[in-house]
C-alpha cells in the first residue's frame, strides 16, 4: 500500500520533484544536440539538396536545379532522352527486390530466433549463461568477417561442396554463390543475433505463472503460446523485426560479397553511384532519400500504431 503511494508520486514527478540536475539540462544535452544536428541532420538535409542538383561527370555535382535524378529513377526516356516517358522498372524493381529479400530474411530470422530466444530464457543457472554467451558472440563479431566466412563456406569449391561431394550426396558442385539464395542466406545469417536478443529480453520478463493460469483454464500449450505468451512478448518481437529488417533493406556486404554485386539490391545500387568516376551523385542521393523515406514511413506507421494501441 505504501508503495502505491510512492508510485503515485513518481508518476507526478516531473511537475513537482526537484529534478536533481535541474537547470543543467541544456548544458548536458548540448554536446549530443550539436553533434547529431551538425553531423547527421544537416548532412541528411544537404543530401536532399544534392538529389535535386545536376550531376558532374567525374563525381560530385553542378549547382543547378534538376529533377533528373528522380526522373531517371522512375522514367525511361530512351537513350537520348527524347522519347516519350515510359515507366522505368529497373530501379523500382531493385527496391521491390530489396524489400522482398529483407522481409523474407526477417521472417526466417523470426522463425528460428523466437524458439532460440525462448530456449535461452527458460534455461536456468549455468546453461542459461552458456547459451547467452554463445548467442552474444556472433552479435559482437565483425559483420564483414562473418560474411566472408559464409562466402568461404558456400563457394563452388568451398568446404560445403567438398564434403557434399565426398560423402556422395552430390555428383557436381552445388552453385550457390552469386545467387538470390546466397544473398538471402547472407542476410539471414548476418542479422539473426539481432532478432534473438530483444526477444530473449522480453521473454525473460514474462511471468510463467501466467502459463500455469492458462493451463489451469484448459488452454493447450500452443494456444497459450499464441494467445498469452506471444501478445505479452510482442514488443520484443517487433523490436527484433525492426533490427533485422532495416539493416537488411540497406545491406551492402551480403549482396556485394555473396551476390557478386550483379544481383543488385538498394545498398549496392547506392554504393555504385559514389565509386570513382563512373558515379552519379544526385542519383545516389535520390536513391538514398527514397530508401530513407521508406524506412521512416514504416517506423512512423509502427510508432503510430503503438501509441494508438496504448490509448
Amino acid at each position: 500500500m505504501a508503495e502505491q503511494e510512492t508510485q503515485e508520486q513518481s508518476s507526478g514527478e516531473p511537475s513537482g520533484e526537484r529534478g536533481i540536475y535541474e537547470g543543467l539540462a541544456y548544458y548536458l544535452m548540448a554536446p549530443a544536440w550539436v553533434t547529431l544536428f551538425v553531423f547527421l541532420v544537416v548532412p541528411l538535409g544537404i543530401m536532399l539538396v544534392y538529389s535535386f542538383l545536376t550531376k558532374e561527370f567525374r563525381g560530385g555535382v553542378i549547382w543547378e536545379f534538376s529533377l533528373a535524378a528522380y526522373d531517371q529513377f522512375f522514367f525511361d526516356r530512351g537513350l537520348f532522352g527524347d522519347e516519350p516517358a515510359r515507366i522505368e522498372w529497373t530501379y523500382i524493381g531493385i527496391f521491390w527486390r530489396s524489400l522482398w529479400q529483407a522481409g523474407l530474411a526477417t521472417l526466417l530470422c523470426l522463425l528460428l530466433g523466437f524458439p532460440t530466444a525462448f530456449v535461452i530464457a527458460t534455461r536456468s543457472g549455468r546453461w542459461k549463461f552458456v547459451w547467452l554467451f554463445l548467442i552474444t558472440i556472433p552479435y559482437w563479431v565483425n559483420l564483414l568477417i562473418r560474411t566472408i566466412s559464409m562466402k568461404f563456406l558456400i563457394r563452388d569449391n568451398g568446404p560445403l561442396n567438398e564434403w557434399l561431394l565426398a560423402i556422395g550426396v552430390l555428383d557436381k558442385p552445388l552453385h550457390l554463390i552469386n545467387t538470390d539464395f546466397a544473398i538471402q542466406l547472407g542476410l539471414f545469417y548476418s542479422y539473426l543475433p539481432f532478432m534473438v536478443l530483444p526477444i530473449y529480453a522480453s521473454i525473460e520478463r514474462y511471468n510463467f505463472a501466467l502459463s500455469e493460469a492458462a493451463a489451469d483454464l484448459y488452454a493447450s500449450r500452443w494456444y497459450t503460446l499464441r494467445r498469452v505468451i506471444f501478445p505479452l512478448v510482442k514488443p520484443g518481437v517487433v523490436a527484433g523485426c525492426i533490427l533485422v529488417f532495416v539493416p537488411s533493406l540497406g545491406a551492402f556486404l551480403a549482396p556485394d560479397l555473396l551476390g557478386g554485386a550483379k544481383k543488385f539490391m538498394i545498398g549496392s545500387l547506392i554504393e555504385e553511384q559514389f565509386k570513382g568516376n563512373i558515379g552519379n551523385w544526385p542519383f545516389g542521393a535520390a536513391a538514398s532519400m527514397l530508401l530513407l523515406s521508406l524506412v521512416l514511413v514504416m517506423l512512423t506507421c509502427y510508432a503510430l500504431s503503438q501509441s494508438r494501441a496504448r490509448r
Partner: protein, 271 residues
C-alpha cells in the same frame, strides 16, 4: 519436472535453438580451422601450421594490416571515448534533470543514427564533407564514427541509470551533499557498469564498421575492415582467415569483459 507439467517446454524449440547455434557457428568454426591449414590452396586441408599467422604479422601485407589495425584502434578508442562522454551527459539530462524544452525531440534525435539505414548515413556524411570542402581522412572517419556510436553508448548507460533509483541521490542531498558531490560520490560510481558497457559497445561498433568508413575514408587511409574487404575482393586467401580468427578471438575477449561487468551489475541490483 516432467514435461507434461513444465509450461516452459515446447516440443521442437530446443531443436530449433540448436540449429540456430549451429548455423551461427559453422562458418566461423570452419574459417578458424582452415586458418591453421598449411596448404596454399584454401580448399584442401593438409596439415596444421601457423604459417598464415606468421604471414599476417611478418608477410608481404603485414605492414598494410599493421597500419590498418593501428588506424582502427585509434579511431575506435577516440570515437568510443567521445561518444560515451556525450551519451553520459545526455542520459543525465534525459533522466535526472526534470523537464526542459526539446526533451520530447531529444530521444528521436539520439536514436536517429539507429533508424537511418547505415548506407544512407554514409552517403549523407560523404556529401556533407565534400560540400564543406573537408578533406577525407582520419578526421572524417572519426567524426562519422562518433555520431554513429552515440546511441550505442547511450542505450546501456540510460538503461543502467533507469535502474538506479533517484532515492540514492536524494539521500545524498539529504545528507548535505551538493549536486556535484551527489553526482561524483553516488551516481557516477553506481552508473559505472553502464558507462563501461556503453564504451565497450561503442568501441566494437566503431571497430566493426565498414560501410560508413568505406565512404568517408580518404584515398590511402584504411581501417582493418576496409583493408580486409579490399583483400577479400581479390579472393579469400588463407591470411584473411587468420586475421578473421584473430578478430573473432578479440570479440570473444570483449564479450567476456562485458559479461564480467554485467556480473558486477547484477550483484549491485541484488541489494
Amino acid at each position: 519436472m516432467s514435461r507434461r507439467t513444465n509450461f516452459r517446454h515446447f516440443p521442437g524449440f530446443m531443436a530449433l535453438g540448436l540449429l540456430c547455434m549451429f548455423l551461427l557457428y559453422a562458418p566461423l568454426i570452419i574459417v578458424m580451422v582452415y586458418s591453421f591449414n598449411d596448404s596454399i590452396s584454401v580448399t584442401r586441408f593438409d596439415s596444421v601450421s601457423l604459417r598464415w599467422y606468421r604471414d599476417v604479422f611478418f608477410g608481404l601485407e603485414a605492414g598494410k594490416f599493421r597500419q590498418a589495425t593501428f588506424n582502427s584502434l585509434t579511431i575506435a578508442i577516440g570515437a568510443a571515448t567521445v561518444s560515451t562522454v556525450i551519451a553520459t551527459c545526455a542520459s543525465i539530462a534525459m533522466l535526472r534533470a526534470g523537464r526542459f524544452r526539446g526533451k520530447l525531440l531529444s530521444f528521436p534525435l539520439l536514436s536517429l543514427p539507429l533508424m537511418v539505414p547505415e548506407i544512407v548515413t554514409a552517403v549523407a556524411t560523404l556529401i556533407f564533407f565534400s560540400a564543406i570542402g573537408f578533406a577525407a581522412g582520419h578526421a572524417t572517419i572519426l567524426v562519422a564514427h562518433i555520431v554513429f556510436c552515440i546511441p550505442f553508448a547511450y542505450l546501456p548507460i540510460a538503461a543502467r541509470m533507469q535502474s538506479i533509483e533517484s532515492v540514492y541521490e536524494q539521500a545524498a542531498q539529504d545528507l548535505y551533499a551538493s549536486r556535484w558531490d551527489s553526482f561524483r560520490l553516488i551516481l557516477l560510481p553506481l552508473l559505472m557498469p553502464g558507462i563501461i558497457s556503453g564504451f565497450l559497445l561503442a568501441f566494437i561498433i566503431s571497430l566493426d564498421d565498414f560501410i560508413i568508413t568505406n565512404f568517408v575514408k580518404g584515398a590511402g587511409v584504411e581501417t582493418l575492415p576496409t583493408a580486409i574487404f579490399g583483400a577479400a575482393k581479390q579472393g579469400i586467401k588463407p591470411n584473411i582467415m587468420a586475421i578473421s580468427t584473430l578478430l573473432l578471438l578479440t570479440s570473444i575477449v570483449f564479450v567476456s569483459l562485458s559479461y564480467m561487468f554485467g556480473r558486477v551489475e547484477s550483484n549491485n541490483k541484488r541489494e
